[in-house]
Each structure stands twice: as structure tokens, then as C-alpha cells.
């Protein structure tokens, strides 16, 4: 379980997270909606320690992320994250992208790493691109590769930071299909997204973030069909046009 307790985060003088409280339960999908600049991406990057928080606590399976004694490198084996763009390493083939961390972090030998990698790549539907460089993949294929790469580490949690926002609308579908697949397998996920309909379809819980605070939180039906706060209503009106 991921527990976010009263988290505050600033970049210099600018406070972007002003007291976030959130719980993500095992095997559940939690979507985060909000306008640009509301702090959504920052929140995700705080969970795996890429960004440091100034106040509050983040607990992943009872381990405190912001504790100085915590070994972030080993904690990150449990958390997979996919960003909006520039995910896949351009100088490595599809296969090499996935085996890199398997070999260097999980210390698998060449044979094991390849087996695991091939399995994940097949699952995500990129088997025919095994030895191809990312420059030859479409945006959607690159994002799917990034997902496969994170999954290969057998994480307990997957975080998705607006992974379809930079994509051609034609390519969004294949990436969302991958996420549906993961949900059906019971993966615990936090999805930051602009795709409101998709969020309603797959989420168990939805939170709406505005200017660094959680304005509303509840089941998809509550938040998306009958939002209470003005900001939420405004956002949903714009997004669902």
C-alpha cells in the first residue's frame, strides 16, 4: 500500500504541493486528474524519491521514502514509473532497453534477463521489434516499450505520468489497451491522466488536484459524474467537450 500523508513540496519559493493526503490500496487503480501545474507529476516523482519533499511522509509498504536511511535504489525495484516522453533509451535496442536494468540492478545473467525481457515484450505486443532502435518505433510503441521495461522489474506498483499526453491521438488507444491489460492482472496503479473517460472506466478511485491540493476524492462515479467542487466541474467540462 502507498500512503501519502500531509506532503508539502516546494521548488525554491514556489510551493507546488500544499498538504496532500492519499491512500492507494493493493490491487486498486487510482487516477489523478487536474489542470497543468496542479502538481500531479511532481507528486508521482516524490513517491519514488526523484523529488524530495519538505514536509510530510510517503510510505510504500511501510517504508518511508523520505527517510535518509532508506535505500532508494532497492525501493525503486518495487515501483515502476513511465513518463510523458523521452522514456526509452535511444542508443539501445528494444530488447536492450528492457534487459539493461535486469542485468545491472537485479543482477540477472544474460540468459535469464533475455527470457524475462522477451516475455514482457511479447505481452506488450512488440515482439517483431525486438532488435530495432527506438528511432524506428512510433510514439505509441515507445511508450509501450517503456511500460514493458518497467514491468520487467516485477514491481508491486506502477505509476503513469500522463503517458498519452504527448502522443498522436491515433496512437493513444494502443497504450490505454496496455493499461487495461495491467488492471485485469491486478496491478496496483496510480495514473495521472487527461483521459477522463478512460479514468472513469478503469479506476477504483479518482482524486482531483488543483493548485497543489486534493479538492475532491472518491469513486469514479462520484467525482466524474457528480462533482461537487467548482474547480472540478470546470475542469471536467473542458475535458469532456
Amino acid at each position: 500500500m502507498i500512503r501519502i500523508i500531509d506532503v508539502h513540496k516546494s521548488f525554491g519559493q514556489l510551493e507546488v504541493l500544499k498538504g496532500i493526503n492519499m491512500d492507494v490500496e493493493q490491487n486498486k487503480v487510482h487516477s489523478i486528474l487536474g489542470a497543468s501545474g496542479s502538481g500531479k507529476s511532481t507528486l508521482l516523482q516524490c513517491i519514488n524519491g526523484l523529488e524530495k519533499i519538505q514536509k510530510g511522509k510517503i510510505l510504500v509498504d511501510e517504508i518511508e521514502v523520505n527517510d535518509k536511511k532508506t535505500n532508494l535504489n532497492s525501493l525503486r525495484k518495487k515501483i515502476g514509473i513511465v513518463f510523458q516522453q523521452f522514456n526509452v533509451f535511444p542508443h539501445l535496442t528494444t530488447l536492450e532497453n528492457v534487459t539493461l536494468a535486469l542485468k545491472t540492478v537485479l543482477k540477472k545473467n544474460k540468459k535469464e534477463a533475455k527470457e524475462i525481457a522477451v516475455q514482457q515484450i511479447q505481452k506488450i505486443g512488440l515482439s517483431d521489434k525486438m532488435n530495432v532502435y527506438p528511432s524506428k518505433l512510433s510514439g505509441g510503441q515507445q511508450q509501450r516499450l517503456a511500460i514493458a521495461r518497467a514491468l520487467a522489474m516485477s514491481p508491486s506498483y506502477m505509476l503513469f505520468d500522463e503517458i498519452t499526453s504527448a502522443l498522436d491521438p491515433m496512437l493513444v488507444g494502443e497504450v490505454l489497451d496496455a493499461l487495461r491489460l495491467l488492471k485485469n492482472e491486478g496491478m496496483t496503479m496510480m495514473i495521472v491522466t487527461h483521459e477522463v473517460r478512460f479514468a472513469k472506466e478503469v479506476s477504483d478511485r479518482v482524486s482531483f488536484l488543483n493548485e497543489g491540493q486534493v479538492i475532491e476524492s472518491g469513486s469514479p462515479n462520484e467525482i466524474i459524474d457528480s462533482p461537487k467542487e467548482t474547480e472540478t466541474i470546470k475542469f471536467l467540462e473542458r475535458s469532456l467537450k
Binding site: Q45, R76, V105, S135, A146, A150
Partner: protein, 219 residues
């Protein structure tokens, strides 16, 4: 005009020997200078404003003063303090520092050219800082830095012609000696030019091949 060619095979070998000195000097200076440049370049890419400015300003001095003066000054210092360094050693020293001033910039811009999201992805997968440096930063930075580094190396090779001023008989000086004897400047300088050109051209060829191979990495 009377074309009397008083130019023998021995003269040619004399010039090739001079070329050899130029190449050796280049090799030593570039190896030392590159190592120093990598260290300074790395420091500059992670250092704060003050350290960055400090190192940058000092290295900048070596790019704002004629190389000839740097050679003369260090040579003069060497005899003042009776260090007893040979002109060759003095040249290596000066050229190495000169090279490092340029290499620092190419290394720094190479490192800074790697998009931060790649580094974030790598750390998020659990790779340590050093692993990320080795697997991600290094290959991608190299691709950006290499063309500039080749330019610097070729520049140093051409600049070795200056060391004739402190007494080293490299290619240009050996040419000059033969010209004084034979009075055939065009012929001899043309041969010298071909020698310079050949070395320079071959070196650029090799890098072109590398660059072609790396084109597939273009995202």
C-alpha cells in the same frame, strides 16, 4: 625559370621525420589534454555557479592568448627556474593544457545535452548514479562531444607547427630547412601540405564512419 630539382629521397624522409614529431606531439598532448578535459568538464557539469565560473575563467585564459606566447612564456619560466625541461616536454605541457581548455567545453556540453528525463527513467529503474553515468550519460554524451573533440584534435595537430619557434624540428621547420638549401619553396611546401592534409583527412574519415553508425540513435 630554371627548374632544377635538388630534392632527394633523403629530404623526403627528413620531412616525414618532422611529420612524425608533429604526430607524436599531438598524440601526447591530446591524450593528456583529453583526460584533464574530461575531469574538468565533468566537474563543470555538476558544479555550482561559483566553482563553474572560476574553472571556466581560468581555462578561458588559455583560449584568449596566442598559443605562441604560451609556448614562449612556459619555455622562459622553465629556464628561469632551471627546471631543465626539453622543448618537447614544454610543448607537450602547453599543448596539453591548451587542449584541456577546449575539451572541457566539449565534455561539458555533451553531458548537459543528455535530456534529464532519460536520467530520471534510469534512476527510476533502480540504477545507481554511477550505473546511470556509465550506461546512459556516457554513450549519449559521447555522440555529441565526439565531432567537436575531433575538431579540437585536428586543431592541435595543426598548431604543432608553432613549436618550431622554441627549437623543435617538426614538419614545417624541416621543410623550411630544405627550402633554404634548394630554393624550391613551392615544391617542398606542396609536399608538406600533402602530408598535413593526408593525416588530417584520414582522421576525419574515421570519425565520419563512427558518426554514420550513430545516426540510428537519432530519436
Amino acid at each position: 625559370m630554371n627548374f632544377v630539382f635538388d630534392f632527394s629521397v633523403n629530404d623526403f624522409f627528413y620531412m616525414v621525420k618532422g611529420l612524425g614529431i608533429s604526430v607524436t606531439l599531438t598524440l601526447w598532448s591530446v591524450i593528456l589534454g583529453t583526460i584533464l578535459g574530461i575531469i574538468f568538464g565533468f566537474i563543470r557539469s555538476i558544479a555550482g555557479i561559483f566553482l563553474n565560473f572560476f574553472i571556466g575563467s581560468i581555462l578561458d585564459i588559455f583560449r584568449s592568448i596566442p598559443l605562441l606566447i604560451q609556448l614562449i612564456l612556459i619555455n622562459a619560466l622553465s629556464s628561469i627556474f632551471k627546471f631543465g625541461f626539453s622543448p618537447f616536454e614544454v610543448s607537450c605541457f602547453v599543448l596539453a593544457i591548451y587542449t584541456s581548455a577546449y575539451v572541457t567545453e566539449t565534455v561539458r556540453s555533451g553531458i548537459l545535452s543528455v535530456p534529464i528525463p532519460f536520467l530520471k527513467s534510469s534512476r527510476s529503474l533502480g540504477l545507481t548514479y554511477l550505473q546511470t553515468l556509465k550506461e546512459i550519460t556516457f554513450p549519449l554524451a559521447l555522440r555529441v562531444s565526439l565531432p567537436a573533440w575531433v575538431g579540437v584534435t585536428l586543431g592541435v595537430f595543426k598548431d604543432t607547427s608553432l613549436v618550431l619557434w622554441i627549437g623543435i624540428i617538426e614538419l614545417l621547420k624541416s621543410s623550411q630547412i630544405i627550402i633554404t638549401r634548394t630554393q624550391e619553396p613551392i615544391l617542398i611546401l606542396t609536399i608538406a601540405g600533402i602530408l598535413y592534409f593526408t593525416v588530417s583527412f584520414c582522421f576525419t574519415r574515421v570519425t565520419n564512419i563512427l558518426e554514420k553508425r550513430w545516426e540510428k540513435y537519432e530519436l
